[in-house]
Symmetry: D2
Subunit: 279 residues, 4 copies
């Protein structure tokens, strides 16, 4: 198969008000015949330059109503236009431009980049198969400064980690879910709702939080909340890259450090991941 990446900006005006979407699109194609590889016969090959042109033309003609709809449009175009395409997957990722505000007033054409979690989606289809849509958020960095511990784990002669009932829980979240063969969803609205579920399940109630006995359990809580609140989600995968913090031992500096000063531990660097679907 082959894939390629194209980055561009789609601008749209309503009166004096500007709307901007900057996206990175990656298209994967697999052809029905491997003759390009085996024989050096290029007659079925769709050059990356042509793929780029198609993506730009679709953006010009249809705009980007939502990332998901744009990914679906690209899939459909390749499947209906090129009979030599056996499989197509399109990945679309957004540069998180947000409208600037001055004293609460939105600006007509100025934007700031706020990367507090990157939105992406995927659409994929095999010839004669259904078109499946995924969406997700990545690079979302979260931290809880208490209500997290790690106790009761398996121990043997290689265990040196002490049990902890009040540690920092910090990590970078990757979350991807499947909508199945979706139709006419309000993708923007659902995405925002899921992002809120993630933050709520990670944090717990604002006045007291909720105790997390492990990164794994927090991953599961996020999945359970999304599945229970958002009926359109079929399967949800969550990966949490852990950043551990150690309380600095200041005894030989003559001080008692009551979880006030902590340093990130670079190694071991871990992550946990889980994929959960509906029964």
């Amino acid at each position: 198969y082959g894939k390629n990446t194209i980055k561009f900006l789609r601008l749209h005006k309503e009166g004096k008000k500007h709307f901007v979407k900057e996206v990175e699109v990656c298209a994967h194609l697999r052809l029905t015949s491997p003759q390009e590889y085996l024989d050096g016969n290029n007659s079925l090959v769709i050059p990356t330059d042509t793929i780029k042109n198609i993506v730009l033309v679709l953006a010009k003609k249809n705009g980007i109503p939502s990332l998901e709809q744009f990914a679906i449009d690209i899939c459909n175009h390749f499947m209906t236009t090129f009979c030599q395409v056996a499989y197509v997957k399109t990945y679309v990722q957004e540069v998180p431009w947000q409208r600037l505000h001055e004293d609460g007033v939105p600006h007509v054409h100025s934007f700031i980049c706020v990367p507090d979690g990157i939105r992406f989606c995927e659409a994929e289809q095999c010839r004669n198969g259904p078109l499946i849509v995924f969406a997700g958020i990545k690079d979302l960095k979260l931290m809880k400064t208490t209500q997290s511990g790690f106790e009761g784990f398996y121990k043997n002669e290689h265990t040196t980690l002490p049990e902890r009932h009040d540690r920092i829980l910090c990590g970078e979240l990757f979350c991807k879910w499947s909508y199945g063969e979706c139709k006419d969803f309000d993708f923007d609205c659902i995405w925002k709702k899921i992002r809120e579920c993630i933050l709520e399940a990670f944090s717990g109630p604002p006045d007291c939080g909720e105790y997390s006995p492990s990164y794994q359990k927090t991953v599961n809580c996020i999945q359970m909340l999304v599945l229970s609140r958002v009926s359109q989600v079929q399967v949800i995968e969550v990966v949490l890259n852990n950043t551990f913090y150690n309380v600095v031992d200041m005894k030989n500096l003559g001080l008692t450090n009551d979880k006030e000063v902590l340093v990130p531990v670079e190694a071991p660097y871990g992550s946990c991941a889980c994929t959960l679907g509906r029964k």
Copy 2:
């Protein structure tokens, strides 16, 4: 001289409410004698491990009231404790953790990383000289989708750039200013005010913006507005890394692209910088 970097987290509680600052501190030291280099005589050398301990102990004892005050504290400690130090500079940079909110309610101990411009500061001092404080913002990405052009530039036989009166202005901003020998400033409040000045000068009025004839002029507008509004600023340096966007020519694809689809131009990649002070 030598420098080193240490990253840590300072946690502080008021009742159930947690406050967190994660910072990266870089300390540069120059000693009065170069004997460590010339003779391999280490007797005056302050190991990076000791510097790390000092930074952590100061954070434990004083907390981090503001980045600037913490940088000042470190400078003062080195100058008063080590007579072999001829010069010290401390750079402090913040990881942009923000408190999470659920339906508008702030969470007592959960945070999200929002890197829409990174705050940093510097304090530097030569022995017997004044302590100078700088502050700044970096990695601030801004875009104006109109009210920007570039015309009337110098032309010769190597010129191929067409004049443009309606282009995209996009870039990554670095801004650093000097407070001089400051005393008792509310550094957090001033920093926020300067950030607002930068956004306002970049964007212009929210209902119509303001025409920018060049990146250079926009840089100057930012400097002028900060100097006029914030009396504590002595000198201000602005660097704007330009990201250019080209309108895609779709003529040979049978379409008219009226500044709707644009691609970023990777090369040449430019920047303009200017330092401006008071008379």
Copy 3:
């Protein structure tokens, strides 16, 4: 499942001569029960800290005879020690330290980092299943300045790419192969042989090269040569990330550029990949 990464250096002496291996090890584990996720019951969880200790202890006891043997040792340890482990995969990657030479004389204890292709391997095993070993090379950047073209590809109304019979072929190669259930191979020797096959298949004969009609065909040539020369390889996957170069059009600068000055094209950025096994 969970994974974690640990980086360390293994030093070994023979008389005055030092040998150094610096590796990054990543271990993925999946347990027989998901109770840690579902119930927050940690009683079967092997902490990342314990995994780190095991890896370091194995390195201390056995050394790193080859990357592959070390990966196998780790897999075996987890499978035989922990009955709650259902699946284990270990990835080992080498920092490419090479012995320094002075006027052809090898230095007893000085090394230089030469990252012209990074060696890695993987070993994976399901409980009651065979242990499978993979090896590979990544980040290998190669360029042919002629004997490459791209012609006869599929064309339609979105095609703007001209045919080219003398272009630059440049890319970053990723190559990974399976040894099946290997026993007692000389992994170091085989790896070097495969690296030479890759370079030879990419380049062709030193006096004239060999024409490549596409990136895809070059990928296939590499696979075919490795499979024909190295009997231990069962399956081989090659990914080639293309860097395209355009001849700069200098007509409006009054010059004829006969493929002398070229600029890299950042977008579209493509890659092609293929996996090939024995019949």
Copy 4:
């Protein structure tokens, strides 16, 4: 001032043999008048697009005889062509393509990227001032596994570092030197000679090495050797970014670790730098 970066490839043939240079050029210009900043008057501004064209045209016309000569050519062009230029600095950096060899036979047109230290240079000139040339090497990673210690350093109540007489010395070297107002040097030959001096001074004799009492002293040894061996060098700056390795304490794992297994220490991360000239 403004600067911009352009990356390109210069191809040159002698019969069937190809020669390739891929470089990144960065040009800084300062104009005699700041009117572009103050008044938005662009009439003296040389667009980055024009600068790019000039660099490419010079590469086409003159080739790249050496990085240094190319940097000098660009400086000269700007100074003699544009009377509004008050200052110009050009930085040129090379992508380290090396000719491939098959069984010792050099290939006519195939290359591999070997980044074991990146060569760069700078040329700078003020109007009516001399043209100064610098050259250097960066990203050169070196390691000594013995013959390095750190003892007899300054101690006080914040000191926790133990003295060590047999540690790992590892770091990334940056080295930049000035040729003064050079004329007709064989820049390629001198650069290679200096690289050898750096490696020799870092390592010591191949059969036994030479004891380094500190990173600082190693920096100084490199400078002294270069200045003594290469008369064309006027001033030399060396920065050594230290990577520290700690011997893993395996006592509570029941093992004695005799400097066999070490882990890199991420923080504090330090560097030492020194600039040395001739009397």
